[in-house]
Symmetry: C3
């Protein structure tokens, strides 16, 4: 795969500084880029790398563009730059949001790498003898006759789509994906390998013998448009009302979403997060890796939870919330952890000291 | 699917107050219920919803039943009720344990929705050309000829059942389930999509080069009766003795159970829990989501671990145990976390203050 | 399966004390061993079990060997031993590292149990009609024609190996494994059921509407030799540079490895660990179960992270690091957790007390 700067700028915009005929064969970080690579400056703190990068072209903001052709960026980057006068200056694509431009470039690039991969798959399937009526459905997948898979949706190998399930236009189920009975996946979603949509929620009632009696999970899962779901992530079906993932939500790998949960549009959850049953997460929220959100809670829009934090109460105010034990050398941690188990008593002892001191301050009778 | 109150009470018991001919088409929470819905009052704190629910029928306890026909429940629920006189009062099913009744109702309901789904699957399989000798085993599954799957067990699509494995009567493996060599699944179990039974336990010895030498996991996994295992949960085979999951245990999604672990009957573990090797969990225990139980520990019966807690020692006394950092606004958390790393020294400083004060209390010479 | 001590010592070395004709049928822990069992003493703290074990043979260190034939080990083990004079003394295999010897024995034992299982699988496949050209690739697996699977590699049922992927000599993919496009698995690796290699890394840029724009993950995953990867573990492909797992790394079940991560040779990560994108872990590191390592961090060689700890900064010095809330009875935990949320203020109060006391110490004017 290769492309000229002219092709890139024509497809994605931006203001070109340099030769439109420059040929590029890959995208690389500034520090690793070769003269055949296109790179990008995502943040001013990496500006000093502009002085040393070997990249053939760099995506930059209007503010950073002048740095490429200056011989010293120390004033900007806080690093004493050494002029690499012998190095040819890279060409530039100037755009207000270089990182976003890079994201779009990566998509354009991937589409060209794929060389109409979907079409190829369809062609190969048609040529084969075991072809499914829909050539984008791999013949090894098990699709129930009463499921509805849109004509432009692609179902990779060894997926299971159960009775009454729906997969929308343009969605792509990679491999080993399960979409359970009556669950719906919207348009332009990506479900990575091993995703399980619509396993039973975890609902039981205790009987008189303290045995668990299963509560059948009668509802389903509804996933909006433009949702991406990482490998081996699980979204359980609702007990009585559907579990809902709204448009544009991004879920990383190995996430557990309990029954009846609702995740608002354009929220993003990192790997290994657990969301317990009946929790509601607002729009534009983020949840860091390994965080746990307990059941029946509600998070407002634009709430951001730090990695490995445990959310035990509803949060009504947007903002960043954290709660995890700071890492330390084990010996220090042990001492502090031991003291922590007496913290309530330490507070009492401080109070006693304060009272003693206060009584001493009183004037002698 | 629809049912009359008469049918329901005939099947599941309870005392009916209202017309036995009332037709119901779904089960819904009180707050969302329509006149065609059957609902339930699981806890007195929701009693005020009885005043406003549109449900056609409600499952209630003998204590709560009078509230439905009163015009004000403020005294009970702490909420100022407004009489909805124009609303027809719902019919009632009166039973000592409404939530348990709902659980059983959900099973009865699901069985009717399924319309003998197992039988249908078997019929379809027999009609098809690729049918497995056991019509409840999906033809896409790979079952070793030396595995034993009971006649009434159902194996969904794309499962793998290895040599010497056993699946008991009435059990249901949903899809993409793996049951490894010589592992046993009892009667009436449900294994959801992606479950892995019998992967190797994580056992290695260090050699002189500090390289890990694999310890072969020679034992297997034994799962009792009535066990339910959530999507993508893994239960490793033992090194020398079997990993054992006793009767009636319920495991949620994405749980890791290490080798040689034993989980006592009727315990329940929520999503994303990790149980390290050779741990023993008693009967009737519960473990909250994301908790970690270290290896070689023993938990007594009826021990309850809060979500996201880390169990680092054996627990001999029944009760609730917790250990996670409380969530806070990030700015507050940062200050407290910084102070926490000095907690041991703070304790020393308190001690110093106490000594100073004590010396001051001494009578002057 | 059975073996004589002579066969074992011939294969694995060690100094035999006892009859070479002793026949053994299993390996068991000292406390459970029968006269037909071979056992081992892995640590001096279990030395007292030597007095009571029924094992037919025991693997011991030169230091421990004399204990077996003494009648009292109280001085060593701290337990009052009772002489079991009627019990025949077990035979011994004396070797400097009994646990390592046991690891190697387990492999030798497993190989014999398997009775050339690979060969049998190949034979059966050749005999069957649906055989893959490579008889060690199960016919239910989907291997792209442009993937390269070495002749001695084994691919179990229902795996997916995508275009351009490589699986090296002697590696074994158990079942339901996915190896994505252009990803490489080295020699002598074991990938357990449900492993996903090469799902997309979690990379998005926010656009002006606060919607996530996907960053295509253009690189791949490279896995060295002798790597073992547990069930349902996921290793994401890199965005621009490959995610790399070096030789001899051992990953337990349900681990998430983000894009661009590098894990140094012979490191071991326990179950449910999450490693965020672009983190670098050195060689010979260990990470306990459920720990979280944030992105863009670097851990030196021989860093050891305790279970459930959160790594939020790079670690340059080898050693053990911890950070999790100590478990407590729930009532105690609640009090301490409440005090913890005021810890910063408690520190201020201590400082105030110290100032008060200091001012009092000043000599009167």
């Amino acid at each position: 795969m290769q492309a000229t700067l002219a092709e890139i700028v024509q497809a994605l915009g931006g203001k070109l500084q340099g030769s439109p005929d420059t040929v590029l064969t890959c995208i690389m970080p500034l520090s690793l880029a070769t003269p055949q690579a296109l790179s990008f400056l995502s943040h001013a703190r990496y500006a000093h790398e502009l002085q040393t990068t070997q990249a053939g072209a760099v995506i930059v903001s209007p503010e950073s563009a002048p740095l490429v052709h200056s011989s010293d960026v120390a004033g900007v980057a806080g690093v004493a730059g050494v002029a690499h006068l012998s190095r040819p200056k890279p060409a530039l694509i100037v755009t207000p949001e270089p990182y976003l431009y890079y994201a779009r470039l990566s998509q354009w690039w991937a589409a060209r790498i794929r060389e109409n991969d979907h079409a190829r798959v369809a062609r190969e399937a048609v040529a084969g003898s075991a072809a499914h009526p829909n050539p984008l459905i791999h013949p090894s997948s098990v699709v129930h006759p009463e499921a509805r898979v849109a004509a432009s949706a692609r179902v990779g190998p060894l997926c299971v789509i159960e009775r009454g399930a729906v997969v929308g236009e343009g969605s792509w189920l990679k491999s080993h994906v399960t979409v359970g009975e009556r669950c719906e996946v919207g348009r332009d979603c990506i479900l990575h390998a091993g995703v399980v949509i619509g396993a039973d929620g975890f609902g039981f009632a205790l009987d008189a013998h303290q045995h668990w009696v299963k509560i059948e999970q009668l509802a389903a899962v509804r996933i909006g448009n433009g949702v991406e779901i990482g490998a081996n992530t699980c979204i359980d079906r609702g007990a009585l009302i559907d579990t809902v993932i709204e448009d544009g939500v991004k879920l990383d790998n190995l996430i557990q979403i309990g029954h009846n949960v609702r995740i608002g549009a354009h929220s993003a959850l990192a790997g290994c997060v657990g969301v317990a049953g009946s929790a509601t997460i607002g729009q534009h929220c983020t949840v860091g890796g390994g965080a746990v959100i307990l059941g029946h809670l509600s998070l407002a829009d634009s709430v951001h939870i730090s990695a490995a934090s445990v959310v035990t109460r509803s949060i009504a105010v947007a903002g960043q919330y954290s709660g995890f034990f700071p890492l330390d050398e084990n010996a220090h941690w042990e001492k502090n952890a031991a003291a922590l188990k007496q913290l309530h008593r330490l507070r009492q002892r401080i109070l006693t000291l304060e009272r003693e001191n206060a009584s001493r301050k009183e004037p002698p009778a």
